[in-house]
Amino acid sequence: MGKLVFDANLCTGCRACELACSFKKEEVFSPTKSRVRVVKIDEEGVDVPVGCEHCDDAPCIAVCPVDALYEDLETGAVLINHDTCIGCRLCIPACPFAAISHDPVAKRVYKCDMCHGEPECVKWCFTGAIKHVESLEEYTREKRKAIAEKVSEGTGVGQ
């Protein structure tokens, strides 16, 4: 099991994740072909990484009329079976994160498969804006620790 965690606060907007993804999956450099995207709101100095959250109750799986989308029980990843997929694209609007795309040339939909447990985007994200965590409990524990230390610093408790 594992989970991708996106944190816009840590994102610098460099888009290395997009390029690393399209290079690994398609051997080209193309943000359009990337499974993860960074929305750059330059006007406000904000960068937001957006990608598949591999939902527990995934709307894409629910909407798929031929059961081409499924949850991989070993990794928790939401995957597409391209042999079954009929290209109806119902899953694209169903996804709240716009994480499924359609390639009009190859005539197929594509999405993040978490690189089967070793996500390439995470490898290139040096600030940790995209993390792959094995245990969400561990992730939240670390986050609680960081916020507690910050509060402690602010109140002067223990100093």
Binding site: L10, C14, L19, F29
Partner: protein
């Protein structure tokens, strides 16, 4: 013949605004091999298309916006875009460069370069959506600021996916140092390239690209960029996190301590208000990201993220926001003696919104301030402004006046420091510090001899981003300096030994950096550039090292085999081509010099107190530099043999016909 190199998109967009004609032309493989891309290819286009008599603001001038073979690929920084034209500010070769997402975007749309000629009858902008390229009416945008233009074009096209290059009202009104601003905040500022674009009645380019870029050798490419990426992450300078968390403003404290932070129009060598405009001040009070790391925003595929984004929440400059960089802060800050960060930040963003080069604008205001203090300009001349050093509000008001060309000083300021000095007279020229008509940056050449020498010979006039010899500022071991530049003095600021070699090397490698589409900060100027990590490792007893090897990077991406020395030769070729352009525009040895202030007036304060840049020293260095470049010591003209040897036979032939070659 089909274009067959990797990395490149493979096409150029030629736009003739006079005829309203758009042509898509295949990139020339021969040009790629000789000049790589970006800055190199732009020089080739200018050499071929702009004759010496061309009016920079007339339809005969050409403006190029170009990327290089690695732009838009994964790798240690791939977001630079180069803009080139004959400069209206200096009358010679003009060039500016920015770190953006626009450059990669035009490549995803299918074009490595955009070459614009002629002049539209009425205001237009160019929209690029992959194959669909149109010249469109820009009546609704003309007169608008850069930010509003960028915002509207994103609204009218594909939202955040649309990347925009825009010029502002200052350039429309004929300020001679108009900039081009990409993606709201990223300026290609120098040389007035934005003014050239405005003179063509071209307001903006809005681009969206959905295509893809391929490299020649996938496995090798991955190996090369992984090594380069590791090189950065392991670099001791990068590891301090200073540059990432403070942005380029890290240089404020650094420059002040080292004695080169130009202060009060170069009258002083340290600034007592430096803390007020420091990187720490900006990070702690205005930065919108509260984590010290990562803190900044990044250009395409860059681990360094040196763009600090901030916002002023209250006070009279509330609402000011944007990416801030060192040169603009130096120009409006220490050069003007202003220590109020909010005034400096505001002036900086105004200059961007008007579309003016922060360096030329701030420098010109600082020059006016000195004239005001010396009594050469009166209150009548300033329209009542108390234009003393340190008056931030007056400085902000001057930015408005110049941007609008309003009043006497607004009109004069729009001409840049050199022309304004000439018009003012009364001995004003004594206080101006331009070289070849270009305002000097915020690093004082008396305190940093390598930088100073670089200004004297730089192809776009007084500027740091031709050579950028930062090795004299970093703590590089002496043995490394000796091995690469022939003198252990080369790694010390106030000494001259090895500095000519250092400037030549940095100019050559910098030309490659600008031509391939990557950033100087990520190569031997700062981090991890081959062969520095290797030499540092050797100096410290040897360990496995990783580095950014430009020659390998270009080779793996494009399939053109280039070794380290071949790459340096290509860099030298680009520098020589730019010299040839400048020779045709009348540049000779007499122009390769420093302003009298730096030669005659010792610095009065700071770590470099008492320093000048002595003329005899400068002359000897120029002799040495010319010998290496193959230029004639007396005239500064190029030698035929040397041009041919460096692969510029066509240039030698052209200069020969014009009788512009050195005699022997």
């Amino acid at each position: 013949m089909t274009f067959n190199l990797g990395g490149y998109a493979g096409k150029e967009l030629h736009i003739d605004l006079t005829r309203g004609k758009i042509t898509k032309v295949e990139l020339s493989e021969a040009d790629c091999k000789r000049f790589i891309g970006g800055r190199g290819m732009d020089a080739k286009t200018l050499f071929d298309s702009v004759s010496p008599g061309t009016n920079p603001l007339g339809p005969g001038n050409v403006v190029c916006l170009s990327t290089g073979p690695i732009a838009g690929l994964l790798g240690p920084t791939t977001g630079r875009v180069n803009v080139a034209s004959k400069s209206p500010l200096t009358g010679i070769y003009g060039n500016a460069n920015a770190g953006t997402n626009f450059g990669p975007e035009i490549k995803y749309a299918g074009y490595d370069r955009i070459v614009v000629r002629g002049r539209a009858k009425k205001p237009v902008y160019i929209s690029i959506e992959d194959d669909d390229v149109q010249i469109r009416d820009a009546k609704h945008l003309w007169g608008e600021g850069v930010f509003e233009t960028n915002y509207r074009l994103q609204e009218e096209h594909n939202g955040y996916d649309t990347k925009v290059a825009a010029i502002g009202p200052a350039a429309e009104k004929g300020v001679l140092y108009g900039s081009v601003i990409f993606d709201f905040w990223d300026a290609a500022g120098r040389s007035g390239v934005g003014s050239v674009i405005a003179s063509k009645n071209l307001k903006a380019i809005a681009a969206t690209g959905t295509g893809e870029l391929k490299v020649a050798d996938i496995d090798r490419y991955r190996e090369v960029i992984e090594d380069g990426w590791k090189g950065i992450l392991e670099d001791p300078g990068f590891k301090t996190g200073e540059h990432s968390s403070l942005g380029t403003l890290v240089c404020v404290g650094w420059g002040n301590a080292q004695g080169w932070l130009a202060t009060k129009n170069f009258t002083e060598g340290d600034f007592d208000g430096a803390d007020g405009i420091s990187g720490e001040e900006f990070r702690d009070k205005y930065s919108t990201k509260d984590t010290p790391l990562p803190g900044g925003r990044a250009c395409m595929s860059c681990p360094n993220r040196c763009k600090r984004f901030g916002r002023v929440e209250k006070g009279k400059y509330a609402g000011t926001k944007g990416n801030i960089e060192f040169e603009g802060v130096g120009a409006f800050g220490s050069k003007c003696g202003v220590s109020d960060m909010e005034a400096v930040f505001h002036a900086y963003m105004l200059a961007n919104d008007y579309g003016m080069d922060c360096i030329s604008c701030g420098n010109t205001i600082a020059f006016f301030m000195e004239l005001f203090e010396k009594g050469i300009l009166s209150k009548k001349d300033t329209g009542g402004l108390d234009l003393k050093f340190g008056n931030g509000d007056a400085m902000v008001e001057m930015v408005h006046r110049i941007g609008n060309k309003q009043g006497k000083l607004g009109e004069l300021g729009a001409l840049g420091t050199k022309r304004a000095a000439r018009k003012i007279g009364k001995g004003a020229q004594k206080y101006e510090t331009t070289i070849k008509g270009m305002e000097t940056i915020v690093c004082d050449p008396r305190a940093s001899k390598g930088f100073g020498f670089g200004y004297a010979v730089g192809s776009r006039g007084s500027d740091h981003l031709r050579a950028h010899p930062v090795f004299e500022m970093l703590r590089i071991p002496e043995d490394v300096g000796k091995e690469i530049f022939g003198s252990s003095e080369s790694v010390t600021l106030r000494t001259y030994g090895g500095k000519v070699n250092m400037v030549v090397w940095h100019e050559n490698i910098g030309a490659i950096s600008d031509s391939m589409g990557t950033c100087r900060f990520m190569h031997a100027s700062y981090y991890a550039g081959y062969p520095i990590p290797e030499m540092l490792a050797k100096s410290k007893g040897g360990k496995d090292t990783h580095s950014i090897k430009y020659h390998e990077w270009i080779s793996a991406a494009t399939g053109m085999e280039l070794d380290y020395y071949g790459m340096l030769e290509a860099g030298a070729r680009i520098v020589n081509l730019e010299r040839a352009i400048n020779v045709r525009f009348g540049i000779r040895r007499k122009d390769d010099t420093l302003p009298r202030r730096f030669i005659e007036e010792p610095l009065t304060s700071g770590a470099a107190k008492g320093q000048t840049f002595p003329e005899d020293r400068l002359n000897k260095m120029i002799d040495h530099y010319y010998r290496i470049r193959g230029w004639d010591a007396k005239t500064g003209l190029q030698k035929k043999r040397k041009l041919i040897d460096s692969g510029l036979e066509d240039v030698a032939e052209d200069l020969g016909k014009r009788k512009l070659l050195a005699k022997k």
